[in-house]
């Protein structure tokens, strides 16, 4: 009888391992597949290009990841990026405000918008999905009204940021990596990071144990707004302008990135490094690979959706497995 239990437990453990390391396996597979199909895939230049393309989204996803780890959600990040950059670019293009003033202002706007989300969720206790859904549309509407649905070009210095390099590596890649390591460090080495995971594990229990739940959730939303606007700045610099469709679908891609990276949408689980970083790289690889094989851009959402599905399925299986384990 004991042997049966042992074998079953081993079987569960193996399954659990496969499921949790799934994306690493998947990424390796992807690498192999794409290198076979497209000759230029496995070059250094291409690798750098992958990181460069995914950098803005990865920055944006960092804040969202923290919110998700508390067990909440923020789908307004795309619109926050759009509005904050929109305000900045209008100031720069139409009012000749210098970029070294406008860019910090963009970040401040992001902080304020994040705080607004936080206020609605924590103080008024409105469901985060509804808050950020409503905000997604409200902020987009304001931004469209502000930019009059026009494409506004960014000033030269900002555009240069988009393709500046140190040696062969793009500046934004360096910045992204630095940011990820910093956030990861704060995640595992400060009480704040611990408390975020605690809240994701059980907000009420964490509250009983002395964690200041409302304050931390509020801060998480503020940080999400911060990184959203920061990511928006990098999008703006890479594209060279603010376009009317900016921000559309960012939240979807960001969630895909987060889920692939092993961060559970139920909250309380996941890591920035290696999780979020690998998630970003994987998504970048997928998009770059699709590009290389000449797939139509219309298939991107299809593929991304499929990827999210698989990653989420794995997440759900993990949860079920964990519950089974606990029962034993």
């Amino acid at each position: 009888m004991e042997m049966k239990i042992m074998r079953k437990k081993q079987y569960l453990d193996v399954l659990y391992f496969i499921v949790s390391q799934g994306f690493v396996i998947a990424m390796v597979l992807l690498f192999i597949v794409f290198s076979i199909i497209a000759r230029n895939f496995l070059t250094l230049a291409n690798m750098i290009r992958i990181l460069h393309t995914i950098a803005p989204l990865l920055i944006l996803a960092t804040g969202l990841a923290l919110v998700i780890m508390t067990g909440n959600i923020d789908i307004s990040v795309g619109s926050i990026a759009f509005l904050s950059s929109g305000i900045g670019i209008v100031l720069m293009a139409h009012y000749n405000i210098p970029s070294y003033v406008a860019v910090p202002l963009i970040v401040v706007v992001g902080l304020i918008l994040g705080a607004l989300n936080g206020f609605l969720v924590v103080v008024l206790k409105v469901n985060p999905l509804i808050v950020t859904l409503g905000m997604m549309f409200m902020l987009r509407g304001v931004a469209l009204q502000l930019t009059n649905s026009m494409v506004i070009s960014a000033p030269k210095e900002l555009q240069r940021l988009g393709y500046a390099k140190i040696g062969t590596i793009f500046i934004d890649v360096i910045i992204v990596v630095i940011i990820l390591f910093l956030v990861h460090f704060f995640h595992i080495r400060t009480p704040f990071g611990r408390h975020i995971m605690a809240i994701g594990n059980g907000a009420n229990i964490a509250g009983w144990l002395g964690v200041k739940v409302p304050k931390i959730i509020f801060l998480a939303f503020v940080i999400s707004g911060f990184f959203a606007s920061l990511g928006g700045i990098f999008v703006m610099s890479q594209v060279g302008a603010v376009t009317p469709t900016m921000g559309q679908g960012y939240e979807f891609s960001a969630i895909a990135l987060i889920v692939i990276g092993g961060i559970s949408l139920f909250g309380g689980e996941g890591s920035i490094i290696p999780g979020l970083l690998l998630g970003g790289v994987t998504l970048g690889v997928i998009e770059n690979g699709l590009n290389m094989v000449g797939a139509s851009p219309y298939t991107y959402p299809f593929v991304k959706g499929g990827v999210i599905f698989i990653a989420m399925y794995a997440d759900s299986i993990k949860r079920v497995l964990r519950n089974i384990r606990l029962k034993e």
Binding site: R189, M197, I205, A206, L209, G210, R325
Partner: protein, 270 residues
Amino acid sequence: MDRKIILETKNLKKYFGGIKAVDGIFLKLYEGEIIAIVGDNGAGKSTLIKIISGIYEKDSGEIFINGEKVDITDVRSARRNGIETVYQSEGILDRLDAPANLFLSREKALNNLLGKFFKIMDTRYMKKETGKMLEMVGIKLKDLSSKVGNLSGGQRQSITVGRAVYWGGRILIFDEPTNNLGLEQQRRVIGLIKRIRNEYKLSIIIITHNIAHVFELVDRIIVLRNGKVIGDRIKSETNPNEIVSMITGWTESLRNTNRKIYKRRKNENI
């Protein structure tokens, strides 16, 4: 007998809208004793405990620690007064490891600039202290960074107990400590509670439904009903049947026994 009263509540009240959860509770806890608070569901045990441990704020009444009146407004102020609570199996977060659970909301920061400004945690210290705490409660863990969800129920309960003891609580409150445990693990926990009371001279309040454990473990039994104390018995003066009938409702004979006991106590000037 001149024992020190370590915790006392006078006329403690807590209403939720019109529901009188705690309706004038007078409670005394002597230093070094273990008392059980029993009562049916809705009697007010949970609410009382949450007031004392700072999760709820009392509406009126007074709380005295060591004879001095204190103001318990939140969990932190309760802890400052030496009150630590051990919850059921829910008092622990499964996907965090033992040190994280032990130090939750009381994390130790590094002594340098990194710690003071950025609040970077001293994980080495916390790990070491966790080792000490585990020794205190008699658990051996191979890997301190494994998630506590992988441990047995008894081990997890021991960690929550250890947490309360480690933080220097003088008054420990156990909320249904043997509820979700198997028999062997229940025995372990009971043994643990006895040991820590003796070793660390703690005063302990236990909320439970398990009358057998009550009679095995505690010195005094307090029965709550509808938010009031209706019975306060030293273990030797009562028996399980009496306790159960008090929990479920008054009987005439009980009232008489009460009168006799109070008279006797008055005479002995306790």
